[in-house]
C-alpha cells in the first residue's frame, strides 16, 4: 500500500513538473520580449540589456513616414470593433434560428463550422483571387472584414448555441401565456437571458480579428492592419521597436479580454439576481 502511494506521488510530481516546464516555456519568450522592450537607445534585440529606458516606446509615438504603427493600429482596432458587433449580431440570429430546427439546419451548422477548419491563409488567398479576376479592389474594411467574420463567426455561433442550451424555455413560455407577442418576448425575456453569451461572442469577434494575421495576408490592400505592418517591419529588420509594439499590442489584447470578462460576470450576476427575484 505504501509503495502504491509513493508511486502515485511520483506520477503526480512528474506530471506537475512537465506542466510547470511547459508553462515556463510558453511564457518565457513573451516576458523576455517585454523586458527587452525597455532596453536603452543603444540596446540590441537580445541580452545583455543596454540600460533601461522608454526609448523604443517613444520611438513608436514619434511620427514617421515609414514604420508608423499608429494608423495600422487604428485600422486594426476599428476592424476588431466592427467584427465584434457583426459577430455578436450574426451569431445571435444564427443560434436563434437553430433552435427551431429548420430544414437544412444540419448543413447550416457545418457551413458555419467550416470557418474554423478552413486554413486562414487560403481563405484570404481565395478572396484575393476572386477580387483579382473580377477586378475588385482589396481593402481592410471590405475584403479583410469579410474573411475575418468567416473566422470569428463559428466561435460566436458555438458560444450562442451553448448560451441557448442553458436557457430555460419555460421563461419564454410564461411570457407568451401572459400574451406578450414573440417580438416583445424575445427582447424582454430571451435577449437579457442570453446576453452573457452575446458578450462572449463579441469578445471572440474582437480579439480574434484584432490579432489575425494569416487571413489578412492576401485579403488586405495597401492600407495594412497592425499584424501585417509588424510582419513587414520584421521582414526588413528586427528592432527593439518591434518588442515595444508587440508588448503594447499584447497588453491591449489582454486588457480587452479582462474588460469583456468583467462585463460578462456583471451581466450574469444581474440576470441571475433578476430571474431568482422574479421566480420567488
Amino acid at each position: 500500500m505504501i509503495r502504491w502511494q509513493t508511486r502515485q506521488k511520483v506520477v503526480k510530481g512528474a506530471l506537475g513538473g512537465v506542466t510547470l516546464l511547459f508553462l515556463a516555456y510558453q511564457w518565457f519568450p513573451m516576458l523576455t520580449m517585454a523586458v527587452l522592450s525597455f532596453t536603452g537607445p543603444n540596446g540590441g534585440t537580445t541580452f545583455p540589456m543596454q540600460d533601461v529606458s522608454l526609448h523604443w516606446y517613444r520611438e513608436l509615438l514619434r511620427v514617421q513616414m515609414v514604420d508608423d504603427f499608429k494608423p495600422p493600429m487604428l485600422r486594426s482596432l476599428l476592424l476588431a470593433l466592427a467584427c465584434s458587433v457583426t459577430t455578436a449580431a450574426l451569431s445571435l440570429a444564427a443560434a436563434q434560428a437553430m433552435r427551431a430546427r429548420f430544414r437544412g439546419n444540419g448543413a447550416f451548422f457545418y457551413l458555419i463550422l467550416l470557418g474554423v477548419m478552413a486554413p486562414g491563409l487560403l481563405v484570404g488567398f481565395g478572396v484575393a483571387v476572386v477580387a483579382r479576376i473580377l477586378g475588385l479592389p482589396l481593402a481592410w474594411y471590405t475584403t479583410t472584414f469579410a474573411v475575418h467574420i468567416v473566422w470569428t463567426l463559428p466561435f460566436g455561433f458555438l458560444t450562442m448555441l451553448a448560451a441557448f442550451n442553458r436557457f430555460d424555455r419555460r421563461l419564454e413560455e410564461a411570457a407568451l401565456t401572459l400574451r406578450a407577442n414573440r417580438w416583445t418576448t424575445f427582447w424582454r425575456i430571451t435577449f437579457p437571458l442570453v446576453l452573457p453569451g452575446v458578450i462572449g461572442a463579441g469578445l471572440f469577434g474582437f480579439t480574434l480579428s484584432y490579432d489575425e494575421f494569416a487571413r489578412s495576408f492576401f485579403s488586405t490592400g495597401s492600407e495594412m492592419t497592425l499584424p501585417l505592418v509588424i510582419f513587414a517591419q520584421f521582414d526588413r529588420q528586427l528592432q527593439p521597436t518591434l518588442y515595444a509594439i508587440g508588448t503594447a499590442t499584447t497588453v491591449i489584447s489582454l486588457t480587452t479580454v479582462a474588460v469583456f470578462a468583467i462585463l460578462f460576470r456583471l451581466v450574469r450576476l444581474r440576470t441571475r439576481a433578476a430571474v431568482s427575484a422574479e421566480t420567488q
Binding site: F47, L90, A100, N105, F157, D211, L238, Y243, T250
Partner: protein, 287 residues
C-alpha cells in the same frame, strides 16, 4: 405561431450568416479550384482548362518534397502534442485538488491563446540566435563550449516555437472530456482491484479519446496551414506549402499558386478524414 411561419423566420435569421460563409469562403474556394485548372497564366474565357499545372507540380521533386515536409512537420507536432498535451490536461484535471490552484493553472495556460501568434513568434527570436538566450544558457551551464547555430533558421527552431503555440489545442479538448468522466467509473474499477495503470488505459484513455482526436485534428490543421512560423523563424531557408503559395502569388503565377492551395486543402481534408476513421466518434462512449 404556426410551424410554417416559424420555419420562415428561422430561415430569414439564418440567411445572413449562410450568405456570408458562402460568399467569403465557399465561392472563393471554388474559384481557387477553377483557377488551378487554367492552362494560361492570365485569364480569358477561351483558354482551355487542363491538368497542366498538376503534372508540373508532380514532375518537380522540389515541390513534392515540400509537400512531404509539410505533412511530416504536422505528424511530428501531433506526436509531441498528443503526449505533452495529455500530460498537462491530466495533471490539471486529475491531480490538482485545490480549485484555486486549478483555476490559476487554467488561466496561465489559456492567457497566451488570447494574444497574437505573430507576436509570440517574434518573441522567440531573441531565444534562438547565436547570441540568443538558449545559447547563453547553454554556455553558462557549460553544456557547449561555443554558441550553436542549430536553433534559428532551422526546423528545430520552428518545431520549438510550434510546440509552444499548438500544445494547448491538444490540451483543451482532453480537459473537457476528462472533466466529464464520472468519478464512480475509476472507483468501481479500483474496487475490483484494477491497478492504476490498468484504470488509466482501460477507462480514462478510451473515455477521453474524442478529446484526443479533436485536439489532434486542430493541431494537424494548424501546422499544415502554418506559414508565419516557418517564414519568421526559418528565414528563407525553410518553407512549407503555405510559403510557396505566397511566393508564387507574388510572382504572378496565379494558377500554379492555386494548384498548391488545392493540394494543401486536399491533404488537410484527407488527414481529417483519416483521423475520423481511426476513431469512430459515433461509437465512442458506448461501453
Amino acid at each position: 405561431m404556426n410551424p410554417r411561419k416559424r420555419s420562415l423566420v428561422s430561415h430569414v435569421l439564418a440567411l445572413p450568416s449562410a450568405l456570408w460563409m458562402l460568399g467569403a469562403l465557399v465561392i472563393p474556394t471554388l474559384f481557387i479550384v477553377w483557377v488551378s485548372f487554367w492552362t494560361t497564366r492570365t485569364f480569358s474565357l477561351e483558354s482551355p482548362l487542363g491538368l497542366l499545372n498538376y503534372t508540373k507540380f508532380f514532375n518537380r521533386p522540389t515541390y513534392v518534397k515540400l509537400l512531404a515536409d509539410t505533412v511530416q512537420q504536422s505528424l511530428l507536432l501531433m506526436a509531441i502534442t498528443v503526449v505533452l498535451g495529455y500530460a498537462i490536461a491530466y495533471f490539471v484535471v486529475m491531480k490538482v485538488r485545490q480549485p484555486a490552484l486549478q483555476l490559476g493553472l487554467f488561466l496561465a495556460l489559456v492567457i497566451p491563446f488570447w494574444t497574437s501568434v505573430l507576436i509570440r513568434t517574434i518573441a522567440w527570436i531573441p531565444f534562438l540566435g547565436v547570441t540568443g538566450v538558449i545559447n547563453q544558457a547553454l554556455l553558462f551551464l557549460r553544456v557547449v563550449d561555443e554558441p550553436v547555430s542549430v536553433f534559428l533558421y532551422s526546423r528545430t527552431g520552428i518545431t520549438l516555437a510550434q510546440v509552444s503555440f499548438y500544445t494547448l489545442l491538444a490540451t483543451g479538448p482532453v480537459v473537457y472530456t476528462l472533466r466529464n468522466i464520472p468519478p464512480s467509473l475509476p472507483e468501481a474499477a479500483r474496487s475490483l482491484k484494477a491497478t492504476p495503470l490498468r484504470v488509466f488505459w482501460r477507462i480514462t484513455v478510451p473515455l477521453t479519446l474524442p478529446g484526443i482526436l479533436i485536439g489532434q485534428i486542430l493541431v494537424f490543421l494548424n501546422v499544415m496551414a502554418d506559414f508565419a512560423t516557418a517564414s519568421a523563424i526559418g528565414g528563407n531557408k525553410h518553407a512549407f506549402l503555405g510559403n510557396i503559395v505566397i511566393l508564387l502569388y507574388d510572382s504572378g503565377q496565379l494558377p500554379f499558386a492555386s494548384v498548391i492551395a488545392v493540394l494543401l486543402m486536399l491533404c488537410m481534408l484527407g488527414g481529417v478524414a483519416a483521423l475520423l476513421k481511426v476513431v469512430d466518434i459515433r461509437r465512442l462512449g458506448v461501453p
